[in-house]
Symmetry: C2
Subunit: 246 residues, 2 copies
DNA sequence: CAGTGGTCTAGACCACTCT
DNA sequence: GAGTGGTCTAGACCACTGA
């Protein structure tokens, strides 16, 4: 049987490609952690036995991919993915009278249960596989704006089932990293509109049947593995999103 | 009085930056037109008196910006911006039974009138400045899906006022290029939600007050000048949009 | 086959950051 | 001042395309 060519050693690939894969692997493996500085370009070039320019091209590629971040005169660092905040990405920030916004969040429910069809498809599980379900309400200036249902594959996220509810005050992705060492690198959102069900309308303090935005997100790790699925609902009138094309 | 440093000659900028600006200018000026091949990298390097690698870096930048397109072994070409199709970018393509979709479009109205507040702000005009207004209905499988109101600054788009209505069968950006030599390079969309007014509901064959998506687009030329503003409405239930983050 | 972009090298000097 | 990334050069060879 023919051995499958490894991305790092497949000689048909350009050197800089193989370097990219080798460096990316160090990040995935956690040898280099988010926030860390990686060795100097010249050191890396020497270590891999390539010209400086070739190593630069490899690093440049990872910078474009958002894995690394260069800081002139200081070094090259493993980037901490900033996937923004659904609240501010997708909703109008009605900063009335220039007052600073006060976004807060509250864990409404936490339970273990079957993934169901949508979450299972996104996470690569069977619908009956158990996941940790979180329900979270996000408010701005004490006004409910978004309700999230979040599915996290078990056993990987088991520890989150016992973390004190108060810890869910913070953003979730940093929490995953702190508690579980799980890093979210990338996510896909799908935006659509629907009518509010009773379960969604109540926490949002709107009427059943009112128009809502539905944002379904799948979040992935550096290795491309799906780690989290969530479905968020918010009042449609508050929704606003900007897209830049080309 | 100090002369303002030209992007192409400001010596504080890296050479490759100045090269980028010089090449971009040739595209803006129409010296190199969309679809054209530009001279070989080696020729350009010689012409500008720089090393090949430096010219490559400049070209690479324009490729990333979407101005140029490389084709291995053939040459480097001026890219024809493909701003996609609002229909397929933002709405579910319900290809029932695998039948190919039949998207069509119809010019519903064409008139000259004041820009009004929204269009004027986007186009950098005064609200009372005259623009050419187009109203266009877009259908898929003979079912109305999107109604567009399009504002085009006037004197520049004057010729479009007399072009036969049948020509509006095609996509607008290629039409602008063919009839006026105007190239759209970039656009910004803002997506929001509203209730259908009577004017919007009638052509879409929905009820007044039904939920609709509103997509406001400003389109720009290579020089960053706003060239077109449009507001599109479509039924909210048919809307679907995917966003990839980082 | 000639001409194009794609990869790679080995060196030089500059600009920035920190101590 | 030492160490980092940023720019630039001048050359070599490879891989692909089209006539």
């Amino acid at each position: 049987m023919q051995s499958v060519p490894d991305a790092r050693t497949d000689e048909r690939l350009p050197i800089y490609q193989r370097l990219k894969d080798a460096l990316a692997e160090r990040i995935q493996d956690g040898a280099w952690k988010p926030g860390d500085a990686i060795p100097a370009e010249s050191d890396l070039a020497a270590e891999f036995g390539v010209a400086l320019g070739t190593m630069r091209k490899a690093i440049e590629g990872l910078v474009v991919q958002g894995l690394l971040e260069r800081r002139q005169g200081r070094g090259t660092f493993v980037r901490r993915a900033d996937l923004g905040n659904t609240l501010f990405r997708f909703f109008r920030h009605t900063g009335k009278g220039g007052r600073p916004l006060a976004p807060t969040q509250r864990l409404v429910a936490r339970r273990t249960g079957p993934a169901g069809r949508a979450a299972a498809a996104a996470l690569g599980l069977a619908p009956e596989d158990p996941v940790l379900w979180l329900k979270r309400l996000r408010l701005v200036d004490d006004e409910p704006l978004v309700i999230d249902e979040i599915a996290l594959p078990l056993p990987r996220f088991e520890k989150l089932a016992t973390v004190p509810a108060a810890d869910f005050d913070e953003l979730l992705y940093p929490l995953y990293e702190r508690v579980l060492g799980v890093t979210i690198a990338r996510a896909t959102d799908r935006i659509a509109f629907a009518r509010a069900t009773a379960a969604v309308a109540r926490p949002l303090a709107i009427a059943t049947g009112d128009p809502v935005v539905v944002i379904e997100r799948t979040a992935f790790g550096h290795d491309g593995e799906p780690l989290e699925w969530r479905r968020s609902h918010g009042p449609a009138e508050r929704f606003s999103y900007d897209v830049e094309i080309r």
